[in-house]
């Protein structure tokens, strides 16, 4: 018996015959998850650069590199998913301008080329020049090449770096919103699908992106600091946790608004969607996304929030606070991944006839299976390691004793 025959046996109620098979699988879950991390990491960096949140400075460069690592991987799940990846260039050559998806290439190219690479380059240029002066062999040549020949370290040139970087970040914020808001629009604009079709979708995507980006950076910063045996900057950690809490409150409010709005309107799709949420999505939506991924971290971060801490209501030693922060951040990551799952997979589990439910059979191997998806989730972290090796984002790398 083939996999689809097996699915057919598990169909409940009536689904259109062509709906037995799910068309967007695990890779399309990975895609919005990854782009969300890009946007979130970049928004965090812009908090430092544009909004002058000095406490977060230790995470600034790490955020940029993280955004870049995830952005490089972002198109891979899409490419792997395509029936004809070799034809993907047609999106650039003959885009259908009415299609939201056709805009992907342009939004992506804009974000990668104009925003992220330029900002990283302007930010690192001075250090690249200084590093290349004191290094040897490969690193010297690599860093010299990365300066692109712009080795002027005069105050005027450095000032230009600063203002250019700031200007690009200002452009970058709406661009990051565009990148992930656009991914939300891809789903939110499908009028055929009542689970997706919502004007709130791009906004919910955005705030969940910010939440996931900050949570990831919190873990990466702590890991990077501990692995380098450096003292953890608790002021930075507290600030990260605070922003994470605020973003999570906003994200949760929006999700709740969406939920209440659907329930109150109770359109014809409400019956099948209720069945979906209480049945096939119970674990991933109610347990993972809502309880473990949102409410529990909200409670933890709320208890640890500066509002309570400054009044001496909840005082915990740094180590324990750190642990709770990381615990919350990990729970949030699981929650956000579940959110993506619930949108992408959940939206295809019910029939557009609103009369039945099908099931998703995840492959283990194969181009769209668990193995490839895990690889694509691991790849940005490996890339980040390479980027960190080439462009150290840590404060000590910015000290140039010989130059001083």
């Amino acid at each position: 018996m083939g996999p689809l025959e097996e699915v057919l046996r598990q169909v409940v109620g009536f689904v259109y015959p062509n709906e037995v098979e799910l068309h967007w699988g695990l890779l399309i879950v990975v895609y919005p998850y990854v782009t969300g991390l890009v946007a979130g990491a970049f928004i965090l960096a812009s908090l430092v650069r544009v909004f002058n949140v000095r406490e977060l400075h230790p995470t600034y460069r790490l955020s940029l590199l993280t955004a870049l690592a995830y952005l490089i991987v972002a198109p891979l799940p899409l490419l792997t998913h395509l029936g004809h990846p070799e034809r993907s260039f047609e999106i650039f050559i003959t885009p259908n301008l009415n299609s939201a998806m056709a805009m992907f290439g342009f939004v992506y190219a804009w974000y990668l080329m104009v925003v992220l690479l330029l900002e990283i380059w302007f930010d690192y240029r001075k250090d690249l020049v200084l590093w290349s002066q004191h290094e040897r062999r490969l690193r010297r040549w690599l860093h010299r090449a990365l300066t692109l020949g712009a080795t002027d370290l005069s105050p005027r040139a450095l000032h230009f770096d600063q203002s250019a970087g700031r200007f690009i970040t200002i452009i970058g914020i709406p661009s990051a919103f565009l990148l992930h808001g656009y991914v939300g629009f891809i789903f939110g604009s499908v009028k055929a699908n009542p689970w997706w079709s919502s004007v709130l979708m791009p906004i919910v995507f955005l705030f969940s992106a910010i939440v996931s980006g900050i949570a990831l950076l919190l873990v990466l910063y702590l890991l990077g600091t501990l692995l380098r045996s450096k003292p953890v900057d608790m002021i930075c950690m507290d600030k990260l946790a605070m922003f994470l809490f605020y973003a999570l409150v906003l994200d949760f409010s929006l999700e709740l608004l969406d939920f209440i709005h659907r329930l109150y309107e109770a359109e014809e799709s409400i019956h099948i969607l209720s069945e979906l949420v209480s049945g096939r999505l119970f674990l991933s939506l109610v347990v993972l996304q809502a309880l473990l991924g949102t409410l529990l971290p909200l409670l933890l971060l709320g208890l640890l929030s500066p509002a309570l801490r400054s009044r001496g209501l909840v005082t915990l030693p740094d180590e324990l606070r750190r642990l709770l922060y990381v615990g919350s951040a990990v729970l949030i990551q699981i929650g956000i991944f579940s959110t993506r799952w619930n949108v992408v997979i959940g939206g295809q589990l019910f029939s557009k006839s609103l009369r039945g439910l099908t099931v998703y059979k995840m492959q283990l191997l194969g181009p769209e299976g668990l193995f490839v998806a895990s690889l694509l989730l691991l790849l940005p972290l490996l890339l980040l390691l390479v980027l960190i090796a080439v462009l150290p984002p840590w404060p000590e790398a910015e000290e140039h004793p010989a130059a001083a």
């Binding site: 015959p17 062509n18 029936g83 004809h84 055929a192």
Partner: protein
């Protein structure tokens, strides 16, 4: 030749016709047949002009007996994969009981007909509904295709260029009717074409051709005398999911409110 000439020639007996006259008549006949032939030739060679047509289909729900011959004919005509998951057209059976509950089924798309219902007790009404691509005038699938591989033809049919489709499956998500699938052999989107290869040769779509009860009516909305025009004139028609503003061009007569 004026009328008096004709009158004078009319009473002539065949025996009296001269050789000259025979030759004249022969050449006339030749000229006429040549003209006829040339005329026919011109008609056959006239290029098909898609702008002169706007194809659509009518489905009379009350006439469908759920035999599934349309599904079989479609699979055969269009080389649709045989597995029971891929359909350009299928038939649904609706069974509404006295409590107002509706059970819908479409075993293997109804290709082999339907098993008899276990019991007719408590059954309020039952009926069959043939489904296919609605060839929407405002098609969401065309809107979302990132490369324009799926497009509306000038004669009102939505087609897929399988040499151009990248297999992203956004069109499948965008179709409210479940009319699209990914062909497992070509990895490109596929759907009903109204048997475009047949209709441009003035043939009927395969499903219409084989329907034993005339439940499906195919025609050209631009022709006021077509069977479809008559269908839309004489019956109250409805389209599926009109609130989505897709402007479907498959018109249903006697459609029940339970059908989505």
């Amino acid at each position: 030749m004026n009328e008096s000439d004709v009158n004078t020639q009319a009473p002539l007996d065949g025996k009296e016709i001269s050789e000259e006259r025979r030759a004249f008549l022969r050449s006339c006949a030749l000229a006429a047949s040549t003209l006829l032939f040339v005329g026919q030739g011109e008609a056959a060679e006239a290029p098909y002009n898609p702008r002169e047509h706007n194809y659509a289909m009518g489905v009379d729900v009350d006439r469908c007996i759920g035999c599934g011959r349309c599904v079989e004919a479609c699979k055969a005509e269009n080389d649709v994969p045989r597995e029971p998951f891929y359909f350009r057209t299928w038939v649904e059976r609706y069974m509404v009981n006295v409590r107002g509950e509706t059970v819908v089924d479409s075993p293997q798309g109804g290709i082999a007909g339907f098993p008899t219902a276990a019991s007719e007790k408590g059954m309020l009404r039952t009926f069959f509904v043939p489904k296919l691509c609605n060839q929407c005038a405002n098609p969401p699938c065309v809107q979302v295709c990132p490369v324009g591989a799926t497009f509306s033809t000038e004669d009102g049919v939505v087609l897929v260029d399988s040499d151009y489709c990248i297999g992203c499956r956004y069109c499948i998500q965008a179709c409210p009717y479940g009319a699209r699938y990914l062909d497992p052999r070509t990895h490109t989107a596929d759907k009903c074409t109204f048997c475009y290869h047949r209709v441009v040769k003035s043939l009927l779509p395969a499903c219409v051709e084989v329907c034993p009860t005339g439940a499906r009516v195919f025609g050209d909305l631009r022709q006021r005398s077509s069977p479809l025009a008559r269908f839309t004139r004489l019956t109250k028609i409805q389209a599926l999911k009109p609130h989505l503003n897709t402007e479907p061009k498959v018109y249903y007569a006697n459609l029940d409110g339970e059908v989505r």
